[in-house]
């Protein structure tokens, strides 16, 4: 990206004042190197978002921002309903509430090593992964609607996981305001056999080792110690969320003229929050969030069963569950007043700071855990929300590395078998139904997640707490 167009607001914040139809500035958080490497399309898309009605403060992009569709991936934008603000299906994306959860095991690498291969095989057998896979939970109409209303709370009631897990999930595991009747029959049919499945692409379940602690105090509060083994799951709302995205993208694009919305890009398909289309989408999208929370809860249950077989004494405790494709109503400080805003985070993680009432009481002193996924051979990170983040991008931080090479470029450079063997040589066991899928997700196809996380830390979006490295990766 041509950085000469930006004013450097601080070492890690780059700003462009509004021009043309932009209502607010664009602010990108990144190091100079990340800025130079970023696609020009990020600025173009962030500037398009800045033209939407009711947008407040700025159109933000996180250090891992890349060219998305409509909004950049890594985009954050907040809208005021009382000022004609909009909700955008493109601003949430197709994989509604895609997110990351990390589970503490109380085990160390020394415990895992002797049984690593059989643990990897058991996880691969029990965790449905990849294209065409189906789960063991099959939902008919009434159960589907109950799941869409109840999220992880529904899953716990069905016997998946523990009641104590719910405190460690955003919204206590249940997004209020979900309206299953706003979700199409097609979306529900697409989900019927997909509960408790991982999906494919960059989704995974990993067994990881904590290899570095950056902040001892916060790590202590989170219960994370060097050498510990954790389980991390990255996946979303599966077919149901994808179909809600598809349905409402069209509905909003077709309805835009009716609402006098001038969209610079059809993919920015939006509707006023205070409109029938906007309210319908919010009801469906919140049901999509609950689907993702229930899905990750079922996967947690499956992982616990496998661990219980290999380690009967182990107690797997949920550290936290974050979503990184959402629109949520949150109170934020704007012009010295707290106001409810509709915060879109598309490929961005909420990062509430210490003392925030929405962070569970036992973690509140440390701030919300912010979980950042890597890819097979690369690191993942645990960060914590900061007080300063509220004054930056509505308490938002990064979500992952983002691709450096397209899927085609990756398959030209690597073969699946070769990636699996190389990683095995480094002690990382990969299990996947698709060799081509592994090649497309080769660690080298991704940007340097460490640079992204360091930029988030320097920009005060979130504080680095711990680094995780994979031991086992179940890949879709």
């Amino acid at each position: 990206m041509d950085i000469s167009r930006f004013t450097r607001q601080s070492e890690f914040a780059w700003r462009i004042e509004p021009t043309g139809k932009m209502r607010v500035p664009v602010i990108i958080y990144a190091s100079e190197q990340l800025m130079r490497d970023m696609d020009n399309k990020v600025l173009e898309q962030a500037a398009n978002v800045a033209t939407l009605p009711g947008i407040k403060k700025a159109s933000f992009a996180m250090p891992d921002a890349h060219w998305g569709y409509g909004f950049p991936v890594g985009g954050v934008a907040a809208f005021d309903a009382d000022e004609g603000g909009v909700v955008s299906a493109g601003g949430v994306g197709f994989d509604i509430s895609c997110g990351v959860r990390t589970i503490l095991t109380g085990l160390t690498r020394k415990d895992i090593e002797p049984v690593k291969k059989s643990l990897a095989d058991s996880l691969y057998r029990e965790i449905p992964a990849g294209v065409g896979s189906t789960g063991k939970v099959h939902l008919e109409r009434a159960d589907m609607d109950a799941m869409l209303r109840g999220g992880a709370q529904w899953a716990v009631q069905q016997g998946f996981g523990l009641a104590e897990d719910l405190n460690r999930i955003e919204e206590q595991g249940c997004m209020k305001g979900a309206e299953p009747e706003c979700v199409s029959e097609q979306a529900k049919r697409r989900q019927k056999d997909e509960m408790g499945t991982l999906g494919s692409g960059n989704h995974y379940l990993e067994v990881q080792e904590v290899t570095r602690i950056y902040d001892e105090r916060i790590a202590g509060i989170y219960g994370v110690r060097q050498g510990d083994v954790v389980v991390t799951i990255h996946c979303g709302s599966r077919g149901l969320g994808h179909q809600i995205g598809t349905d409402y993208l069209k509905e909003m694009a077709v309805a835009a003229p009716k609402y006098h919305l001038e969209l610079p890009d059809r993919e920015l398909a939006s509707a006023p929050i205070n409109s029938p289309t906007g309210q319908k989408y919010l009801g469906a999208m919140r049901a999509g969030i609950n689907c993702a929370l229930a899905n990750r809860q079922i996967l947690t249950h499956l992982a616990r069963k496998v661990f219980a077989h290999h380690f009967p004494e182990a107690r797997l405790k949920l550290l936290y569950d974050v979503s990184h494709n959402t629109c949520k109503v949150e109170e934020h400080l704007l012009d010295n007043k707290r106001r409810p805003l509709y915060v879109h985070r598309k490929g961005a993680t909420r990062a509430f700071g210490p003392g925030h009432p929405d962070v569970c009481s036992d973690l509140r002193d440390a701030g919300q855990p912010v979980l950042i996924g890597g890819s097979m051979g690369t690191c993942s990170y645990i960060l914590a929300g900061t007080t300063e983040s509220e004054g930056e991008a509505f308490s938002s931080a990064v979500h992952g590395a983002g691709r450096a090479l397209s899927r085609h470029q990756a398959t030209r450079q690597w073969q699946g078998r070769q990636v699996i063997d190389e990683l095995a040589g480094r002690g990382i066991l990969v299990r996947s139904p698709s060799a081509r899928g592994v090649a497309e997700e080769a660690p080298g196809a991704y940007k340097d997640v460490s640079a992204v996380v360091e930029a988030a830390d320097h920009a005060h979006l979130a504080r680095m707490v711990a680094r995780l490295e994979p031991l086992i990766c179940i890949k879709g």
């Binding site: 890349h66 409509g70 197709f94 494919s200 692409g201 598809t246 698709s434």
Partner: protein, 140 residues
């Protein structure tokens, strides 16, 4: 004369599908074949079972997105892959028959699920030599 073909075009995080053909119908069918090629080699997919598809939209571009999303839905819901597409378009109404088979993980080695067809780089246009091109970015 435009020869029927499909191709993928570059997008940083996702992937673009482009169908080219002598008619709009042929371009739409080729764009759908490009979808299958994201998952597997279309030559590996036997055109055994048929699935009917119908969609309507206010313009050509939304019709293309609708068409591709209808194929994606059938792939996801029926756990199938498709390798032949017979498309008829009248105005902005499309009727089609998809031919394919159930996903066989060992045989097809499907690489990645497709979440949806986006409106990014969405275009349906005549080409200079009298054919048609139909394209968009899909989210994977």
């Amino acid at each position: 004369m435009t020869t029927e073909h499909w191709e993928h075009f570059h997008h940083e995080a996702d992937i673009g599908v482009r169908g080219v053909g002598p008619t709009k119908e042929a371009a739409f069918a080729q764009a759908a074949l490009a979808l299958t090629a994201i998952l597997t080699d279309p030559a590996l997919v036997k055109p055994e079972e048929t699935v009917p598809v119908a969609c309507d939209a206010p313009d050509d571009e939304l019709l293309l997105a609708d068409w591709l999303n209808a194929v994606i839905y059938e792939m996801a819901h029926r756990k199938m892959l498709f390798s032949r597409f017979e498309v008829k378009i009248s105005g902005h109404r499309l009727r089609a028959t998809l031919r394919g088979e159930k996903v066989d993980v060992a045989k097809h080695q499907p690489a990645v699920e497709i979440k949806g067809a986006t409106y990014t780089e969405l275009r349906v246009r005549p080409t200079e030599d009298g054919g048609w091109v139909a394209q968009c970015v899909v989210d994977v």
